[in-house]
């Protein structure tokens, strides 16, 4: 993962970094459809916050309400101590970048970037210098005289970013900025946006449906579903300690095993008894639960000695993913419920993982997450 863990940790641990944006009880309904329910959220000064969720979860609606492009049905938004809940977009302080770039096609790149500056009656030379500075910043110093149609998608999105940053807004809103780009360009721009954001220290809210994007770019992730916030946390927290089954399912891959609590951190899935050692809740014996285990949370080979939760299984399928492989294993005690496990390409060869092979692995007891059969984690 490319997020500097130290930074993420610093941001999440520091007790009260200055608050850039406070959202209180925002809700939104369209006729009979409720898009957002009582959203409470605090955005810290200078952080990159990602709103992550499947389409229709309300993340874009929330961003548009913050921008004043959509009107909330209730609740307040305070930006840097100023209540902006009722202000029209023109009166708010933010720059915005859309998935569609929204560059003015009949204006040159320089004119596009200068669009907000010219309106502030700045001297021409000053505008020109600022435009050059911004174009250099986004890595396109010589494109000023071109038209948007002459640039690639990634270049256009860089220009859109420069235009949004031109007036030095205190808040940057990114609405799926990378979704229209091809895979390679997307990864390249991902890094650049993050670098710029940290360099300028501008508070940023980004909407995305791509979990990888959120994990790699954000200081904190807000996972949303059905108009509700499921979890707020650093990328590591969200991935390693998902607060709800939805988060566990949506962020990363996961095995779900229906099980019954036996007490003392022990659970039985079908005929397989598993020991859970992490923060796996305290379920009364007999309670129906679900065990969540990520495919990489298994030990093999040398790490097997003395490890709990050792199981034997038959490899039934191997999906080749490049540097790693996803193996499907059939374990007798699980009675037909398949288990998906990652192996690196080297492990694949060293352990002889192939269809038809017998394999012994240990499921890491400290990684198993337990959720009630219906509700959230305890």
């Amino acid at each position: 993962m490319s997020v500097p863990a130290a930074l993420a940790a610093r941001l999440s641990e520091s007790d009260s970094p200055a608050t850039a944006l406070t959202i209180r009880g925002i809700h939104k309904r369209f006729d009979r459809f409720v898009a957002l329910q009582q959203i409470d959220l605090t955005v810290r000064q200078g952080e990159m916050l990602c709103l992550l969720g499947p389409s229709g979860c309300g993340k874009t609606t929330l961003l548009r309400i913050i921008a004043g492009l959509e009107t909330q049905s209730g609740g307040t938004i305070v930006q840097n101590g100023r209540d902006i809940s009722q202000l029209p977009p023109v009166k708010r302080d933010y720059g915005i970048v859309f998935q569609s770039y929204a560059l003015f096609p009949n204006l040159t790149i320089a004119e596009n970037v200068a669009y907000g500056l010219v309106n502030r009656r700045k001297p021409r030379a000053e505008v020109k210098a600022r435009v050059e500075e911004l174009l250099t910043m986004v890595g396109l110093p010589t494109s000023g005289d071109k038209y948007p149609g002459q640039l690639s998608g990634g270049q256009q999105q860089r220009i859109a970013l420069a235009r949004a940053l031109a007036t030095s807004p205190r808040l940057l809103l990114l609405d799926e900025p990378l979704s229209a780009l091809d895979a390679l360009e997307r990864i390249r721009l991902r890094g650049e946006i993050r670098r710029l954001q940290q360099q300028l220290g501008v508070t940023t809210i980004m909407v995305t449906h791509d979990q990888e994007e959120a994990l790699s770019m954000a200081d904190r992730i807000v996972v949303m579903n059905h108009g509700v916030i499921e979890q707020i946390g650093t990328p590591h927290e969200v991935y390693e300690r998902p607060a709800t089954p939805f988060v566990a399912d949506f962020v990363g891959k996961v095995n779900v095993l229906p099980a019954v609590a036996l007490g003392g951190g022990r659970y039985r899935a079908s005929r397989l008894e598993l020991q859970c050692a992490g923060d796996c809740g305290d379920y009364a014996p007999g309670t129906s639960v679900r065990l969540y285990l990520r495919p990489e949370d298994r030990a093999v080979d040398g790490a097997l000695d003395g490890a709990p939760n050792r199981v034997h299984g038959l490899v039934t399928k191997v999906e080749f993913l490049g540097g790693s492989c996803l193996a499907e294993m059939s374990i007798d005690e699980l009675e037909g419920l398949p288990l998906h496990l990652y192996f690196s390409l080297n492990q694949l060869h060293d352990l002889g993982v192939r269809v038809g092979a017998q394999l012994e692995v240990a499921l890491r007891s400290d990684r198993i997450r337990v959720f009630g059969a219906k509700g959230a984690a305890q």
Partner: protein
């Protein structure tokens, strides 16, 4: 997390954002557009409904007029005449246009572009022109009068003449709809059929015809409505054959019987509304039919088929040109059939010497004013609906009114204008019989198609421009003038050209609204023809067509130059 059930949430009205100055400007202009459409479309229509149940002094009389009409056999006869003549024209015009469109879209016939242009010429002419031309061909002194009698038709005046003229007038309307339907085909369906070894006929009946079903329905309703509410052709070539549209004119202008005129006007509104509803449904289906992934159909050369199609196109184009050609020739010869020497006398009479000499100049003025004001009104209205926010209750109203204008035949609109603006208590009465009211009536009458052009152009530009401007603190109107308008300039010019051309040719709406000072070319053609000055009428009609052709050429030139100069960004695009 706190998941509050939806039904527990307080159910109060959304607090609206405080308005910025820009919001207020946008709303203000939007209200002006609404007021314009209400005043010049809705109110006149309402007056017709009111007048249908009043006597000439404004007293409520209930259904007296309706009963009177039901008791008048000649009027019931006119209803029946209108219906069967319109239906006959549909049965001739639509298949004719379908084959022509098929040739243009699905064959490799040469000169397809030229054929298309020739087929669109009738759009440029007042509907009177074809009637005059057919009189010259088949009238009492007609060149081919013998051929008519050989066919067993005693005279062109009446149903045969109306049908011929209207087939000519409606041909391009049907053609354009069918051409769109045929060119929207998905090439992959044909490739799939070919790979299964399907015969040509089977492909036609299982793929082509079903995919054009909606286009055919739409063309049929458009043609039917056009014919039933057209006034020019039946007036000139109809003789004693009574149809509804001419009857309204007689009731109102001849006998000053407003109540009865209003009822007949409402009768004319029925087919229009029905076809409007059908057309709206069909359009929606047509849009849904075409998926974004479909591959355009590309015709492959087939010798015999292409040859047959070329022959057909040549035949139709010859017939169409024979009509304009006859009008043109009539305008240049002394007096058919006695004196065939060439002369400019008719032009001199129509433009300089006759009582109706100002007509051509008036038409030009009307066309220019309509093109200018119409295109801006329509574009600004469409822009505000598409790209700004607020006044959510008013927006659908504008769209509804904009679409409704298509459903009101010109004759009915004109009738509404008399009843509304000529009303003694209307403070806007000073507009009656002036040039401005002619301009306004034409703008409203042709609002729908212009509105749709503007909306289409606006939908193609990014919806987020206004949001971006707001975030950059640039008022929306600056972005409108700096970005939206330049980007949409081709569409704006297209609307202006459309308004110019229809203003030159329109008759049915303005026939109720002109005064001796504001007489228009189309009205003058009708009056000259009535006075027996068929040469002068032909001269004026030819001049109208030529003016529109010139304007279309100028438009083509202007767009090209503009595209090169101000739209450099288009040609530079990578894609």
């Amino acid at each position: 997390m706190s998941a509050v059930p939806a039904d527990v949430l307080p159910l109060r009205r959304s607090p609206s954002l405080r308005h910025s100055r820009e919001d207020l400007i946008a709303r203000g202009v939007l209200l002006v557009v609404v007021a314009f459409l209400v005043l010049f479309l809705l109110a006149p229509m309402a007056s017709i409904f009111a007048r249908a149940v009043q006597d000439n002094d404004g007293h409520y009389v209930g259904l007296v007029h309706v009963r009177a009409i039901l008791a008048t056999p000649s009027l019931l006869h006119a209803v029946w005449n209108s219906i069967w003549v319109s239906a006959t024209v549909v049965l001739i015009s639509v298949p004719m246009a379908f084959v022509f469109a098929y040739a243009l879209a699905r064959s490799c016939a040469p000169l397809r572009g030229t054929f298309r242009l020739i087929a669109l010429i009738p759009l440029l002419a007042p509907s009177l022109l074809s009637a005059i031309a057919f009189i010259q061909w088949f009238g009492n002194q007609g060149v081919l009068k013998g051929a008519l009698q050989w066919l067993g038709i005693s005279t062109i005046y009446g149903a045969p003449g109306i049908i011929l003229s209207e087939v000519y007038n409606t041909f391009p309307h049907a053609l354009m709809i069918l051409l769109t339907a045929l060119s929207l085909a998905d090439g992959r369906l044909y490739e799939a059929a070919d790979s299964l070894g399907t015969s040509m006929w089977r492909k036609f009946f299982t793929i082509t015809l079903p995919s054009c079903k909606y286009g055919l329905i739409s063309a049929a309703t458009v043609v039917f409505t056009y014919v039933i509410s057209d006034f020019g052709a039946p007036k000139v070539i109809g003789g004693n054959f009574n149809v509804l549209s001419v009857d309204v004119f007689k009731q109102v202008v001849g006998q000053q019987n407003f109540g009865r005129g209003a009822v007949v006007g409402l009768l004319l509104l029925i087919p229009s509304i029905v076809s409007f509803v059908i057309d709206n449904r069909v359009r929606r289906k047509l849009r849904a039919q075409l998926s974004a992934r479909s591959v355009p159909f590309a015709a492959r050369p087939r010798r015999a088929f292409d040859l047959a199609m070329t022959a057909y196109c040549v035949l139709v184009c010859t017939l169409l040109l024979a009509v304009v050609g006859m009008a043109l020739w009539t305008s240049f010869i002394q007096l058919w059939p006695y004196n065939l020497t060439l002369t400019l006398d008719h032009y001199r009479f129509a433009l300089v010497e006759g009582d109706l000499a100002p007509a051509y100049g008036n038409s030009l003025k009307l066309a220019l004013a309509t093109a200018l004001f119409g295109s801006f009104t329509v574009f600004i209205g469409a822009y505000l609906i598409e790209k700004t926010r607020g006044l959510d209750l008013v927006r659908p109203l504008i769209h509804l009114l904009a679409m409704l204008s298509m459903a009101v035949p010109g004759l009915v609109l004109g009738l509404g204008y008399i009843m509304f603006f000529n009303h003694p208590h209307n403070p806007l009465g000073f507009l009656y019989q002036t040039m401005p009211i002619l301009v306004l009536s034409v703008i409203v009458h042709y609002y729908t198609s212009s509105h749709l052009t503007a909306v289409t152009a606006l939908k193609q530009i990014d919806d987020e421009f206004e949001a971006v401007s707001a975030s950059l603190k640039v008022p929306f109107y600056k972005t409108f003038f700096r970005v939206t308008l330049p980007v949409c300039l081709p569409a704006l010019l297209d609307i202006a050209r459309y308004y110019f051309v229809v203003s030159m040719a329109t008759l049915s709406g303005v026939v109720f609204l002109y005064s001796p000072d504001t007489v228009l070319a189309s009205v003058a053609i009708m009056n000259l023809d009535e006075a027996g000055e068929i040469g002068g009428a032909a001269a004026l009609a030819s001049l109208t067509v030529c003016t529109s052709i010139v304007v279309c050429l100028l438009y083509a030139l202007a767009t090209r130059v503009l595209l090169m100069k101000t739209q450099a960004w288009r040609s530079l695009s990578r894609r």
